[in-house]
Amino acid sequence: MSTAPGIIIRDAAMAYRGDAVFDGVNLDVPGGSWSCLLGASGVGKSSLLRYMAGLDGRADISGTAVMDDGDGLEGKVAFMAQRDLLLPWLSVLDNVLLGPRLRGAPAQADRDRAAVLLDQVGLAGREADLPDTLSGGMRQRAALARTLMEDRPIVLMDEPFSALDALTRHRIQALAAELLEGRTVLLVTHDPLEALRLGHRTFVMAGSPARLDDPPLIPPGQPVRAVDDPALAGLHADLLSKLGLGRVAA
């Protein structure tokens, strides 16, 4: 997986009924590492992610998003949303097998792999349970296993951990970082500390229509970084001011 492709976005624009969400966005996401897309709530970072995943049918879009080898993103991107999107009528195992189920019938090899993935995310023994019986953290673990099951080189994450309590969030972030190692991950977040902790680099998105701050912030060291690292404290303040806090304070 060390050769996971990067993403190149040129002149991306998206508008809903004439209102520009973002405009003239250029972004180079290097392959095989974690990039974070940081922005205040409602700035359009989720929209940019959906643009890359080709999800928004109702918006007016222009520009290009391709892999750095020139191929399109279609079929290469897995998507993890804010909500875990587990289907309540399927067992945990069948939820992980959703992709194979949608593309035909899951083979025995798929079932074996799903069981291994559930073991890796710490849900061994819960295969037959319905999502209803799982805690919020366990549900996102199951969603993570489902994402891994798709085995796509690029993983786009839209604040999938934001609804979890702090301790659970820390654990599942570390787990995701471990299991997604080598893939191209773009994580959307509004939390500067999360971005500093998990990202090899952090892009800041701000303004209306939104623009990307270039170049990205590259914190020292490798993720997952310790949050009590004093070097991060300064960068944290830096990011907060970029997000617009400085202007509010002044």
Partner: protein, 251 residues
């Protein structure tokens, strides 16, 4: 008393309460037996003439069940069609509304004229009355599938058919269930109205017949049997749905 025992005892208590209420009205109003027969007299008639009642009850039950099956099938298929194809929606929706705008009571004589005095016209009536609640509830369920599930399925490369089968239909099951419950509760209306308009069998026929001969206790006995049939069918459907759809839609 445990919760389970209470669940079993409740219908009995309700039934006894209604019977007591009935007896109370008889006593207070001093209504003559040919207007309101006391419950005991009706029970007596019921036991005495059960041999006569049961075959008619069987016919009515059959009409209700056939109507329920046919109406559910047609309703389910229509909802799938409307939800899957835009042109189908434009063409079928008005038909659906018309099927409800015309009261079944008004259609009963025509259906009897066309389909005869036998089973077919009653089943058609019951089907017609069941069709709409099933179709509209199921269609609604198919339309209201959370966008996130659909996007996830698209991202995973699911075809339209696969998404319909794996996501939309299961997601619409609770709505389908509520439609079917409503349909089950109203299904006997279709059958009985059909029997009133023209028939030689069934509880509706028996009631008209008894009414003409001023056998009011027989009318009430037939009504009791109809209530038992309706309740049994309803609880059977409810029980089956509860077991088939074990998950709850998320709030």
């Amino acid at each position: 008393m445990t919760l389970n025992a209470m669940n079993l005892a409740r219908p009995v208590i309700i039934a006894l309460g209604l019977l007591a209420f009935w007896q109370g009205i008889v006593v207070v109003s001093e209504a003559p037996p040919y207007i309101l027969p006391p419950p005991l007299a009706v029970l007596e008639t019921l036991i005495e003439r059960i041999g006569e009642l049961l075959p008619h009850a069987g016919i009515t039950a059959l009409e209700i069940l056939l109507g329920l099956g046919l109406g559910t099938l047609l309703g389910g298929a229509s909802a799938l069609l409307i939800a899957s194809f835009r042109p189908a929606r434009r063409w079928l929706m008005p038909v659906l509304v018309v099927s409800q705008a015309l009261p079944v009571f008004a259609l009963a004589p025509i259906l009897t004229l066309w389909l005869g005095y036998g089973l077919a016209s009653k089943v058609a009536m019951a089907t017609l009355i069941i069709y709409f609640p099933v179709t509209s509830a199921f269609y609604d369920g198919l339309r209201r599938v959370p966008q996130g599930w659909l996007e996830l399925a698209q991202n995973m490369g699911g075809s339209r058919t696969a998404i319909l089968r794996q996501i939309r239909i299961p997601a619409a099951m609770p709505a389908f269930g509520s439609g079917l419950r409503v349909a089950t509760a109203v299904a006997p209306i279709g059958a009985v109205v059909g029997e009133w308009v023209g028939s030689s069998h069934g509880l509706g026929y028996l009631m008209l017949h008894a009414n003409a001969r001023l056998q009011i206790d027989m009318m009430f006995a037939a009504l009791l049997v109809l209530a038992v049939i309706s309740l049994t069918v309803f609880y059977l459907v409810d029980w089956t749905l509860k077991r088939a759809i074990r998950w709850r839609p998320e709030g």
